[in-house]
């Protein structure tokens, strides 16, 4: 049991790193109302770019920045497919994701790149979890603060309006193509950042590291919303909730691993969790709609 408790800090660290990723998912899924599947590829892109740069001697902060820019670029590609070529958002994301699979292999010149912390000066490593936690908590707070400020600005408000009601936004003079671009770029930039942080923490970048990220992210968002609901509706609280959701997700994961339960089932369970939480409100609405007859009242 002592070992189990000792494994918790590492689970929390994983939760915070994937929480950054889940924040990216929150921006597209909850704010922009687009299910962006690009992220499954962007996690690895961020990791691959960061790992390759650090290994070739580039400053680790600069590597982090370039990795984020790579993610922004990936978001722009999905935006291009979606708005310029008129491809449905989900398919646009899948297309970019598939492209990124090849691109990620090219960036790494193979399926993985090692960034051992004893050979390179990285910002965090699982060899020193307490220090990693300090770094990650600060990162999380900075991200929440910056996004809180950004979505309160004029530009931020237009992005929220676009997600809430596209037709109204255009009627109010908002260029919804531009707001979608900003949202997708920002989201994928943050997701790539999480990948870059993750590769340093675990000491390698791997072609498979983003697989199922969208579902993990959605699960974190949903768990977070369920937990945070009673605490408040403030936007900063909601963002913090995403991190809380992600931490809970990874504690459950660690528990499954520790008790030698079948981890193969975890992705299926995550997917079912997401399906149930997204489905329940819909079913509820269907049932209440049938009772009331769906008349708009004054």
């Amino acid at each position: 049991m002592g070992n189990f408790i000792a494994s918790m800090p590492s689970a929390i660290a994983q939760g915070l790193i994937w929480g950054i990723m889940a924040i990216g998912v929150y921006i597209t899924f909850r704010i922009l109302d687009i299910a962006d599947l690009t992220v499954d590829g962007t996690v690895c892109t961020g990791a691959a770019v960061c790992a390759v740069l650090v290994v070739s001697g580039v400053n680790v902060w600069l590597a982090l920045l370039i990795a984020t820019l790579a993610g922004i670029l990936a978001g722009c590609v999905t935006w291009f497919f979606h708005t310029v070529l008129g491809i449905p958002a989900i398919l646009a994301g899948i297309l970019t994701q598939l492209m990124l699979w090849s691109i990620n292999l090219k960036i790494m010149s193979g399926a993985n790149v090692a960034v051992p912390s004893r050979s390179y000066s990285v910002l965090l490593t699982q060899m020193n979890v307490p220090m990693a936690l300090v770094f990650l908590v600060i990162t999380a707070v900075v991200i929440i603060a910056l996004l809180y400020l950004f979505f309160g600005t004029e530009i931020g408000c237009t992005i929220r309006a676009t997600g809430s009601n596209g037709a109204m936004s255009r009627a109010q003079g908002i260029n919804t193509n531009l707001t979608k671009l900003i949202g997708l770029a920002l989201s994928n930039g943050i997701v790539a950042l999480s990948g870059a942080v993750l590769c340093q923490y675990q000491g390698f970048a791997d072609i498979n590291m983003g697989r199922g990220a969208i579902v993990t992210g959605l699960a974190s968002v949903i768990i977070g919303e369920a937990v945070i609901r009673r605490i408040g509706k403030n936007f900063a609280v909601k963002l913090a909730g995403v991190f809380v959701g992600s931490i809970i997700y990874w504690i459950v994961y660690q528990t499954v691993v520790f008790f030698k339960l079948d981890t193969d089932l975890l992705k299926m369970l995550s997917a079912l969790l997401v399906a149930i939480f997204l489905g329940v409100p819909y079913i509820k609405k269907q049932l209440s709609g049938r009772r009331k007859g769906g008349v708009v009242n004054g």
Partner: protein, 269 residues
């Protein structure tokens, strides 16, 4: 160029599903000129092209022919979001005119910035709140004490009143009302129509108002047009309009549309 003209639609053509068996000519070379300050009510049966005309003006899609000139400026090729600067719009569906997930004050703040360049400045400033509170108080719906409430929790009538406020905020050159009271119960519809009259008078707005209610079409505005199969078939104004009765309109429609009166009676009455 006549300085007194606010809107000139010339030969507007809009086809849906062009080149398929479902091709429908929604606007068939439509001409319409509005003077500044005109308050025009628009009636017509289902599929007459009323909403399509408003959408053509708003630029929801490109027209297949003709031109839209607003206050002397050709806006035919301007995208929807750029025209928004000059237009105020209220839709039939109360859900359509506001962002449900945002607060009342945030919706108003978006409207206050319509057509302005968006920056990283705060999305809403303190001074604006006082102004919004005052504007909302004038509606008499009790919204002034609920500035930070999500619009999604408001009733249909409240949302339409709020959308009207937002539409009028930047002194639009043209107000487009697309059956904006049709989804409301009769009492709420009357309240929203009162607010509409007040706002139009206060801001001296040139207005196109589609309505399914012939009595409203006669009572409100200084001019009435009836559409049929993508064209304007009746256009009356001034004293002539004031003297109209619902029966007159039905008779005029029967004559002008060539006896299709029975089909459309239910829709028009």
């Amino acid at each position: 160029m006549d300085n007194n003209v606010m809107l000139r639609l010339s030969g507007i053509v809009k086809k849906f599903n062009a080149g398929t068996v479902n091709e429908k000519v929604a606007l068939n070379g439509l001409d319409l000129t509005l003077d500044k300050g005109d308050f025009v009510t628009v009636i017509g049966g289902n599929g007459a092209g009323k909403s399509t005309m408003l959408n053509a003006i708003a630029g929801v899609w490109r027209v297949d022919g003709g031109s839209v000139v607003l206050d002397g400026v050709d806006i035919t090729n301007l995208p929807e979001y750029k025209r928004a600067k000059y237009l105020g719009r209220v839709f039939q569906d109360p859900m359509m005119g506001t962002a449900a997930d945002m607060q009342i004050e945030e919706n108003l703040a978006l409207a206050a910035r319509r057509g302005k360049r968006k920056t990283l400045a705060p999305g809403i400033r303190k001074a604006e709140r006082a102004q919004y509170r005052e504007m909302l108080a004038e509606l008499g719906l009790g919204l002034e004490s609920r500035l930070s409430v999500k619009v999604g929790t408001l009733s249909g009538g409240q949302r339409q009143a709020l959308t009207l406020l937002m539409a009028a905020m930047r002194e639009p050159k043209l107000l487009l009302l697309d059956e904006h009271t049709a989804a409301l119960d009769p009492k709420t519809a009357a309240t929203v129509l009162d607010i509409t009259e007040r706002i139009i008078k206060e801001h001296e707005l040139t207005t196109l108002m589609i309505t399914h209610n012939m009595r409203d079409a006669i009572t409100h505005g200084n001019r009435l047009i009836m559409m049929h199969e993508g064209s304007i078939i009746i256009d009356v104004r001034g004293e002539e309009k004031q003297k109209l009765t619902v029966e007159d309109l039905l008779e005029m429609f029967t004559k002008a549309s060539g006896g299709e009166f029975s089909n459309d009676r239910a829709i028009l009455s």
